[in-house]
Symmetry: C2
Subunit: 373 residues, 2 copies
């Protein structure tokens, strides 16, 4: 996970390079990055704003709803804690006060306009009419693109645990049991590996095999069809995200053939992820690999970075020209519309000075897995 020292140093670099008097972050992920804590309620009640105010050479302020006092005191690495009372204090007023106290009511203030809703932005501008607000659009997100060794270790561990949870759930699967059971086993296994929340749980099979974001229900698992999952948990604010496809016995030759072609595509793309190449090049290469394997290709993107957000930049899509650098991590996730459903696989790849490093395979996955037989 990120440390206080590195996160705040990166914020100060933004302040220096953008000639700011203050940097204000509002998105739950960047608040997590700079304050060291993530409040569950920010996800379910976005109005309950949390903000971090960073200024040069001073302890940052952490503004949050006082309902979270115990968590903030216990978990945040920031010292200047400013809890506001919900429905009494307005978060934008508390923020404006903090900026006034720091003598920068007329300063140049970078603020996350790609997270703050228009209503809040307007409120802040009214509070500080003299300030020069600049859109801190993606600045902290860009800083987050290069993961520290501690972050990569954490992401590798949690991703491997997610993959192991899927594998364990698949291994125990029986034809005829309700779809639910597979999902429940995945979640329970991941929780026992340290996950603190569910991010997403897609399960597609039988009648829902072609739906990208199907969810498990009580339907009994059928024989002879693919079972696809796309599953992620939360781990102290960091996310995991793994898709796998297995086959409910009996595995058929046509299924095995398509699966192996998809796996060949995956290995081709992974091998190409080297420092110095561009994100869009991996996409183009992937499209060619599909053609070479005789698979239809129609994906708008074939992968994404990950960390405190599910789809972080860079994205492996045709318009992202970001040059890959050591310390980036990608989820590479080709999928194919086969004759009996969408097949999907997903791996975490670390960009290094040399060969790409796969962090997500708790098992081989090179061969199609037959389950439930």
């Amino acid at each position: 996970m990120i440390t206080r020292e590195i996160a705040l140093a990166r914020a100060q670099q933004i302040i220096a390079s953008q000639k700011l008097d203050a940097l204000v972050v509002a998105s739950p992920w960047n608040v997590r990055y700079l304050a060291g804590t993530y409040f569950l309620t920010q996800k379910v009640i976005p109005d309950r704003l949390a903000l971090v105010v960073v200024t040069p050479n001073a302890e940052p302020s952490f503004i949050y709803c006082s309902i979270e006092d115990a968590s903030a005191q216990d978990e945040s690495w920031l010292d200047d804690l400013r809890g506001y009372t919900e429905f009494v204090d307005r978060p934008m007023h508390v923020l404006a006060d903090q900026l006034r106290v720091r003598g920068i009511a007329t300063g140049r203030i970078g603020i996350e306009t790609d997270y703050l809703v228009s209503t809040h932005s307007a409120e802040l501008r009214a509070e500080l009419p003299q300030a020069d607000f600049v859109a801190a659009q993606g600045w902290v997100d860009k800083a987050r693109m290069i993961k520290t060794p501690e972050e990569i270790a954490w992401l590798g561990k949690t991703t491997l645990a997610t993959d192991a949870a899927i594998r364990a759930a698949f291994a125990a699967t029986q034809i005829g049991e309700p779809q639910f059971n597979v999902g429940d086993r995945m979640v329970a296994h991941a929780r026992r590996s340290g996950a603190d929340g569910l991010q997403h749980l897609v399960l597609a099979t039988g009648d829902t095999a072609f739906k990208v974001h199907a969810v498990p229900d009580i339907t009994p698992l059928k024989a002879g069809v693919p079972l696809r999952v796309d599953f992620g948990m939360t781990w102290h604010g960091y996310l995991s995200d793994i898709a796998r496809t297995a086959f409910l016995a009996p595995l058929q030759p046509r299924q095995a053939d398509t699966y192996r072609r998809l796996e060949a595509v995956q290995q081709t793309v992974i091998a190409s992820l080297r420092a110095g190449t561009r994100a869009c090049d991996a996409y183009a290469l992937c499209a060619k690999a599909y053609a070479r394997q005789g698979l239809p290709f129609g994906m708008p993107h074939i992968g994404h970075s990950i960390g405190l957000v599910l789809h972080e930049k860079p994205m492996l899509h045709p318009r992202d020209e970001t040059v890959l650098m050591p310390g980036m991590v990608f989820m590479v996730e080709p999928a194919v519309v086969a004759h009996d459903g969408v097949y999907h696989t997903e791996d975490m790849v670390e960009i290094t000075e040399g060969d790409p490093r796969v962090l997500s395979r708790s098992a081989d996955w090179a061969e199609p897995m037959e389950i439930g037989g």
Copy 2:
């Protein structure tokens, strides 16, 4: 659940009363309300905007990321489906095109500025410089305040199922088992009642008993302490939310006494929720009931409405003067900081023409529940 007819009629009422040429909704909850479908990815990837454009006397347009094509075609009750290609089309450009096609590039357009981020708002204004944009702030949310009988039936059913899941999980609880197990049982039970996703799962006991939003971990359950959960699932876009507190055996007289006082507060507040009273009055009454029971009171709010959003308006807080009307539903959730943790209870109450109707009690809950003994 809401029906197409009523949802669109309410949108047309907004258009008429606000003299709009178009109403554009962007929040996942209001898109769910008007389009009849909810995309899981809107929650985890908010950039993947979905929008509904309503104009007088025409079929509304549903703009969404084409990754969701299968779901939109299968689930939405709207006919004019406009999937855009992620990373190629810009959603705000697609929206502007739809408005131009409808001949209202210079019209009066209500748009959800309390959901759209500043970046998107600015993009839309640049696309349609002649349009008169007005903040459709809370308009659809206000329309959603009065639930239809079908919505109340659905909310009652899903809330009762959530309560039953907690009760079943408590009944099976054993001292010494990991906290996880309780949560896993709750989720599995609710899924079997039809829930399609997890909304939130708070579990506090032992060392975390005072943390408002603690999550379960591997720690074994201790004897003689309270076990508090706050648990919600998703049900076709609608949410459930129930908090309950039980006591790991042996139940102590002091615990039972505090629990009964909290329950007395709860019954007092519930009884007061009648058409014609104001939300803030229930809050004031609750504060008095705490005092009468000799309990410390420090809650910023004591309840909220619920539906497609966890905390819907009206809120039972000191500044919400909304007059209660039949068809509103409230989650009433007093909590108290006791000597050995926070005790919390939560019930769904329907406002009727007569007595308030409690929809959430799958069991009595009037007496403290001893578990694990």
